[in-house]
Symmetry: C2
Subunit: 339 residues, 2 copies
């Protein structure tokens, strides 16, 4: 059972050539006669031999692996990002290591618990909202770093303009004729994430420019937060006619509260999310699309270029967002009556 798998030596003797020749063939290096090349290929196939990345990496100093660090693996968003990264890496013949650090994040030394050094050629962080210090710690492992979900000057990073996206969403509601537009945002236990802050700012800015007073509720993340917030809004003396949620999960919770209260969407209240969660399509929820797979692919490409030594010309990639209009938003009743 546990007999050692075939090594290059086995292939060499089977093909009747030397180790170096097999090595050259397997790497696709030039300087081997076509016939010999063929013979070696066959021998390798028959033994179903593959090169040990371990051993080759030992010599070349490259591991052929890229680490992806995510806070959590369950939310749909991360799966999509990983899918994008995965495809790019496969094409570049790199393997993808995945580390979920969510629970150990609070520990100050979490970066050291990852066996990154010497075990991968690059690190991609996904929406980790890294502090300056954390970035430095990761730098210390001596592996190139690509960030996603946050914009950090001077570092390879892929991100969206959350502020512009939220402002655009707000304008969409303004354009429909709404003036009483509430915003439901989120805050973790101890801090705002950068993207939370930026989306809130975008909403506030758009409202301000329209001469309206922002009206925002901040809740713990998740759809429960949306549900509670919507409850509060519905108990207001003069409830909003439109609600923008920081992300779709929140919007979906709000949607549930409305459904349970028998309040029509968008007849009574327009509802808009952010992210284009797959559930948003099912709820016919108007939202802002950021395509995570594209973000992943872009980050993957950066990582590949960096590991291959070709300095990418632009290491700062701002990805576009796009409003997806669906049936959860419409003009407010008053305006509709007039038109």
């Amino acid at each position: 059972m546990s007999t050692r798998p075939p090594s290059m030596r086995d292939v060499a003797s089977r093909a009747g050539v030397s180790l170096s020749t097999v090595s050259r063939v397997m790497r696709g290096a030039p300087g081997v006669a076509p016939q010999v090349r063929e013979r070696v290929r066959n021998a390798a196939d028959e033994l179903s031999y593959v090169v040990s990345r371990n051993a080759s990496g030992l010599v070349t100093g490259r591991t052929g692996r890229v680490s992806v660090v995510v806070p959590y693996l369950k939310p749909w968003f991360f799966g999509s990002v990983l899918a994008g990264i995965s495809e790019v890496l496969r094409e570049a013949d790199l393997d993808m290591l995945v580390y979920q650090v969510g629970d150990l994040r609070p520990q100050p030394g979490w970066t050291r618990t990852l066996p990154l050094r010497r075990n991968c050629d690059a690190v991609i962080t996904v929406s980790m909202d890294l502090s300056e210090e954390e970035c430095h710690r990761l730098d210390d492992v001596g592996v190139p770093l690509v960030l996603t979900g946050q914009r950090v000057p001077g570092r390879a990073s892929v991100f969206i303009d959350d502020q512009a996206g939220a402002a655009g969403a707000t304008r969409h509601l303004l354009n429909l004729g709404h003036t009483r537009i509430a915003y439901i945002g989120s805050r973790g236990d101890s801090w705002y994430s950068g993207s939370s802050m930026n989306r809130l700012r975008g909403y506030q800015a758009a409202m301000g420019k329209a001469g309206l007073t922002p009206w925002s509720l901040i809740k713990p993340p998740g759809h429960e937060g949306g549900e509670h917030a919507m409850g509060e809004l519905l108990s207001d003396l003069d409830p909003p006619t439109a609600v923008l949620a920081e992300f779709d999960d929140i919007a979906m919770g709000a949607h549930r509260a409305l459904r349970r209260s028998g309040i029509g969407v968008p007849e009574a209240i327009s509802l808009m999310g952010f992210d284009n969660h797959e559930g948003a399509a099912i709820l016919d929820l108007t939202t802002v699309d950021q395509s995570p797979a594209d973000i992943g692919a872009a980050a993957g490409r950066l990582a590949v270029e960096i590991t291959e030594g070709t300095r990418p010309r632009d290491t700062h990639l701002e990805m576009p967002t796009q409003i997806i209009p669906r049936q959860s938003t419409s003009a407010p009743r008053s305006v509709r009556g007039l038109s």
Copy 2:
């Protein structure tokens, strides 16, 4: 920039000991004086040295890595399974390689394109529905295999009893008083997946036992399928009073069709899914829970045990399923009227 990272030699000379001693300390091997151990630890810390898995693996024959093979990365299900696997592997100090093979699956030799051999200690497949032949091909790479999402006699595998789950779901609807219960299933381009088949069978069996005629529609997977199927059902002369979907995505599509048609759930039609998708909670959809994270954790544990040489006592793990009653199912109107 690209100066070689510190090696064991650097640590050894800094601590004033030999390579073996450093090795022993780093591995936690016994036989080192506490003082010396401490001294080595410090030296390693100061250099922020970590052992190269590459090099140690070359000697031990173990890589410290487990490969996880998934068809796709985007669907929520796989993220949850990965989360479960990830935690278990981290505790065992193993790294997780992830391969998404969806698109290249049709090619007969896809198993060979994965650089599995010599690059990991075990392979976990997630809902890959492997054929006997594919299993053999993977065996050929000489790495222990753990399957999830399918029951294969004689192989380490983690699975749920789809048939029993679907039968239970059907009985739930029967118990509520429904008799006209339709089933919406899915089929890929060319074949049923094993779990699709089993769920359909479970439904059919439960209906048969109740003396009722099964009524099933088979569509392409995804929520569109559910939407179309529901359209068909609604255009029937005598529509069903309850619908069971093979999985939540389908149910969510059906739910959307009902919502758009203004048909009350569960007032007019009860709707039930399978999987406990997070969207199911938002739609208040009654469903059958299979907890993917637990499946992943169980598979991860099997993989760890196998790589560590401890033959697990049971390599065949059937995970429980559980009905989650929510507001999308109730007694049919006729029965309700009587009670």
